[in-house]
Amino acid sequence: MSHVNPAPGRPALVSRRSFLAVSAAAAALGVSGCATSGSGGTTTLRFYEQKTEVIEYFGKLLRRFEKEQPGIRVVHDTTVAIAPQFVRGEPADVGCFNNNLELARYIKRGVLTDLSDLPSAARIRTDISDLTDQYATFPGRTSVLPYSLAAAGVIYNKRIFDELQLPVPETWSQFVDVCEELQRAGITPIYATDRDTWTLWQGLFDYSVGSLIDTGSFFRKMKELGTEVGPDAEVSFEKDFAVPMERAKTISTFFNPDHAVRSYADGNLAFGKGEAAMYFQGPWALSQIALVDPDLPIGTFALPVSEDPADRKARVNIDLGLWIPTQSRHQDEARELVEFLMRPDIIEAYNNDNLAYSTTEGAPPQQDERVAGLQPYIDDAAFYQGAGTFVPNSIPLGNYLQAAIRSGNFEAMLRKLDADWRRVAGRGATV
């Protein structure tokens, strides 16, 4: 048809073979050695920390560390995804990351070194380091040093509470009374933001469950049971979460009427403008609320879900934990950096600045009055890690909650959670 041979006697400008050779050479040009330590005997460390709000803060700390240790340069790695580094076989030398199910995978597979022999490890409160073990452990290792403990509860507008002379509720019935009072006064009791589903599970779900159930041991049993979870098993969502979800159902009747379409940003704006009395959020929302009204008087209390005030607990999470991968080629320098960050003055200043709590023994109390209400719970170790944080991402808990709030059928949701739990366990994907 249309194929014509190159005219004989005239070499083609580029023969197929030379074209291939050139392409291969071009590909080879892309190959560059990986960056190792610079010249002049300085070691370069990579420090992985991607919590947006404190990137600058840690940047300053790293410069300070470099001044104290002239032989070490530290590069601040703020990449979003953590997995690629491990896949490449080039994880950062020191990691500073949220202690959650994702980090648990790395702990379980034993790719993080043992830090138990560091001097600073001895200063960490055992009731806080026990929290990391609830997600995953590696036999004989302390893989993560908890660095920052964030505590969350019910953020409330002190001005509204004072005007209506409402007490801070200490029991479940008092809490319901307060909500009904507020409704009678024409004020939205609780501002909820269903559109961002994470706000539902970290607030409504976790708070309702936390003070009634020991999440750590509940989920340990759930993991042991795996595919056996169900109404007849020792533990199950359907059985153990029935009462907490009744609470959640009652709480959801006090939401703002348009909660279904509101987002997290809407919530911060509305609460900052004083449009609601209470808000189920952690300290991370406070800086956003301060943008709207920096002078709004705010306090935090732990949500009571039983009739005994002593049952009240705060929801905590280890917002940042320090770890060193086994693959790091600069173990000693990495440990120097961990020790530097764990120094009392540095760890305490960080947590005080960021509305969190230090994980070490004898740390001074949190001064900020917006979160000071949770200090007693931290002191007494009356805290729990949210139930929602134990549920793997493959179970869309937030979406189930959306549906349950709309239909009021929380029992069906719990049955679904059990079924999903069995399925995930069957796939062997629970972490």
């Binding site: 249309s2 014509v4 400008l13 560059s32 979003v80 490449r88 704006l269 709207v292």
Partner: protein, 288 residues
């Protein structure tokens, strides 16, 4: 290129008898869907952080605050990230244009051979491969070959553009009359000369189309560079801009200032390049 579009347009309007109002109104509405968000982006970039979160997106900035641009410039290390983004996009566009036009030409002119026919089907099959599916092996492979850097990102972008671009080129090449090549062949031109002197110039409008698609895909991509590039200092703009947004808060005014600075070149590139997409360059190539 002389552009006789204006007198011709006037003639057409006279023939059609005035403006087509329903269509004009429809197009005006369509324009609004682009202009409204653009206006919000612009005004948001000049607001203060306090005003940015007040829930009044359409309000004019008061007080006027150009500070956001300085902050964004600083935080994203704008010149560096911008340069890397541009380099990645350039590698992508050049590689895509070069490889896909050559491949398409070979395929179309050898359509009667099974190998060439099936290689097109093979390329088209890649359209069904989304990047996330092959992400992890790609990360490992790029690390092994030392391509876990912007160069590798550019090469990968070009590979992912291949299927679509070859599809566009082959369709277009079929419409180029074979007589052009035959006459060149008689004058003693080699295949390579024919491609360079005749085919490549004729591919003008398609080059622009393919180039624009490749550029936009590369310029706006977030996922691939964020996973492939190992050195955080060598990240492209969209990845760096992620610092303005987290689950727990968004720094709207600074983010929008940064987005504006990142958007400007794409808009300029499009304004310049779309002329070639729309105008017919092949006119007068063949004498009738």
């Amino acid at each position: 290129m002389s552009d006789p579009a204006a007198p011709r347009g006037a003639a057409r309007r006279r023939r059609l008898g005035g403006t087509n109002w329903p269509l004009t109104i429809l197009l005006l509405l369509a324009t609004l869907t682009v202009l409204a968000p653009l206006y919000v982006t612009l005004s948001m970039a000049f607001k203060t952080s306090e005003q940015a979160v007040d829930g009044e997106a359409f309000a004019l900035p008061a007080p006027f605050n150009p500070q956001s641009f300085a902050v964004a410039w600083e935080l994203t290390r704008f010149p560096v990230s911008f340069g890397i983004s541009l380099a990645v996009a350039a590698i992508t566009v050049v590689l895509t244009l070069f490889l896909s036009s050559l491949a398409a030409y070979a395929i179309v002119r050898n359509w009667d051979r099974r190998l060439f026919r099936w290689s097109l089907f093979y390329l088209l099959a890649a359209l069904f491969l989304p990047f996330p599916v092959v992400a992890l092996p790609q990360i490992q492979l790029t690390a092994m070959t030392g391509l876990d850097n912007p160069i590798g990102v550019g090469i990968l972008h070009a590979m992912f553009q291949l299927s679509f671009s070859v599809l566009l080129y082959t369709a277009y090449l079929r419409s180029i009359p074979i007589e052009l090549e035959e006459s060149a062949r008689i004058d003693g031109a080699t295949t390579w000369q024919i491609f360079r002197r005749i085919i490549l110039p004729l591919l003008g409008p398609m080059n622009a189309t393919v180039g624009i698609f490749a550029f936009l895909a590369s310029w706006n991509d977030f996922m691939l560079p964020s996973l492939i590039t190992a050195d955080p200092a060598l990240q492209t703009l969209p990845v760096v801009q992620n610092i303005f947004q987290s689950q727990f808060g968004t720094n709207y005014n600074v983010a929008f200032a940064s987005y504006l600075m990142a958007m400007a070149p794409t808009i300029i590139v499009y304004l310049i390049a779309q002329r070639w997409v729309i105008s017919g360059i092949t006119q007068g190539a063949v004498k009738h």
